[in-house]
Amino acid sequence: MAKAKDILLSGLVLVAGRGRRSPRPEAERVVPDYDADPRAETWAIVLLLLSSLCCAGFIVVYAVDRIPHQTQFLGLSLGLALVFFAAALIVTALRLVVTEELVEEYPPELHVGEVDLIASTVEESGSRLTRRRLFKLALLGAGGGLVTAALTPAASFGPLLRVKDYFGTPWTRGRRLVDEDDRPYKASDIEEKDFYTAFAEGADKEEAGASLVLVRLPTSSLKLPPELQGYDANGIVAYSKICTHAGCAISMYRVPTFLPDEPKPALVCPCHYSTFDPASGGTVQFGPAGRPLPMLPLEIDARGFLRAKGNFDGAVGPAWWGVRNRKPSPQS
């Protein structure tokens, strides 16, 4: 501790002593001589001292854990240290460093007429070419070929060429519906006014085609279109959990406590509020989705487990061109 004090003191003496150097012998000044500005100098020194005080404060706050709002005081001390330091630099730059304004003339123009020379050089350099048009075409072909070749790997981005994979779903007739812990759902587990997420048994749950949203509606309220008749199992309906707009997970189920006064049941996507009607086959009620949610036909086996009766009625996943013309297929 005592040694540190000695070092600190001698350092201070050295720093203070540097100012009192004997003046150099008289010589020609490079920059103009301005008057000293003792006030600005004092200011700068005071600001620098304040900055080091704040730094010391930071160290103290960091070391002492008992201080309440420690994060705030850490930020405050370090921030103030930087502010004082910056202020000291500003004062120094504006008041203490000698500034002078010098005017430098533009040099005289050196390359008069050379632009024309370059133009005619370029023009005359092509005089050996006889089939100019063909040459230009060949050049264009090679350039275009290079660009096309560079862009070809972009085909891997989307289903332009290989679309089959996008329509494979794990659903086949008889496959059971399981929850996220792989317990199979029984029809009696599904209660009205609640919603469930289900997956295909044994399938990868990350796969877009594997996840379902499952709700039970009163059978009297179902208004399935003719092509979807029989897709429900005693009022239990299953839809793809992937929104047909941008592919988010449908995680909102709007279900009224008292139907006459309140909005009717709907599956809602939290990303852009696409709203689907579970009673009428997942038709779009609101929002940017362009086509209904794909519906999975269900059946209940003899032991009461929920099983798929087939594949979805439409393609699963977000919208892209041509998606409506495709039917999902069982995965190969």
Partner: protein
């Protein structure tokens, strides 16, 4: 002094009247839920060319068998009495006093066998399990930080003012368009964890200080761009200014 007596007398009269739950029901609830609380599908009257507005009486569900749980939830959150039917009930100033609410809850629970007021124990729950459950069951609508959000045609509320009992009740009832969760879907033990998480989300540990509503990077970004950005711009101007012509 005289005023104190008058107010005291009025309060006494008020609570005496409130002691009878059925009377309070007749005054505040019967127009929608029906005189015997068996619900009403509503009747239209009024309206016409001059005033293109129809008024309805009735249109309230039956309260038989909803139990003390539902009555406690709807009355103590200010969801009921509703201003008019067809709108979403929101948390609001309580119209009825405590004695009236107690009497109403007794009356409603006497109408049929229904669930009692739950007594959750969030201190027995686990925050991380609660967060996982909240994420899969609740966050779709209420947002992961329980700040509420939007569903089409309804507004899932922020949970900042909800008490543990009210959260437990809401999960079982599913008020307005919220799904309801049976003990099979969310057990009472899991519910403790969910409530513990909601309490944590309502009072997070704000190490940074100014929380800006805990709604994430957008307000934080705005503050850093506008406040810190303007300050920096000011400093740049000061530095760039020429003091000596």
């Amino acid at each position: 002094m005289r005023w104190v007596v008058v107010i005291a007398a009025l309060t006494l009269v008020g609570s005496a009247a409130a002691a009878d739950g059925k009377q309070v029901f007749g005054r505040y609830c019967a127009s929608c839920h029906g005189p015997d609380a068996s619900g009403s599908t509503g009747q239209r009257y009024g309206g016409g060319a001059a005033r293109n507005q129809s008024v309805q009486t009735g249109m309230g569900p039956s309260l038989h068998g909803v139990g003390a749980l539902a009555a406690d939830f709807y009355l103590r959150t200010g969801y009921m009495p509703l201003k008019r039917n067809g709108i979403q009930p929101r948390r609001s100033r309580l119209l009825l006093d405590n004695a009236q609410i107690d009497a109403l809850i007794r009356y409603i629970s006497s109408l049929g066998k229904g669930p009692a007021i739950p007594h959750p124990h969030p201190e027995r729950g686990n925050v991380s399990e609660g967060m996982a459950l909240f994420r899969s069951h609740c966050a779709g609508c209420h947002q992961i930080v329980a700040e509420g959000g939007y569903v089409t045609n309804a507004v899932p509320p922020a949970l900042g003012d909800a008490t543990p009992t009210q959260i437990a009740e809401a999960v079982r009832i599913g008020p307005y368009v919220m799904p309801k969760f049976s003990t099979k879907a969310i057990s009472d033990r899991q519910l403790n964890s969910i409530i513990r998480y909601v309490e944590y989300a309502n009072h997070p540990d704000n190490r940074g200080g100014w929380s800006l509503g805990n709604i994430g990077p957008v307000p934080e970004g705005l503050v850093s761009w506008f406040v810190a950005g303007s300050a920096l711009l000011g400093v740049c101007l000061v530095i760039g200014k020429r003091l000596h012509g």
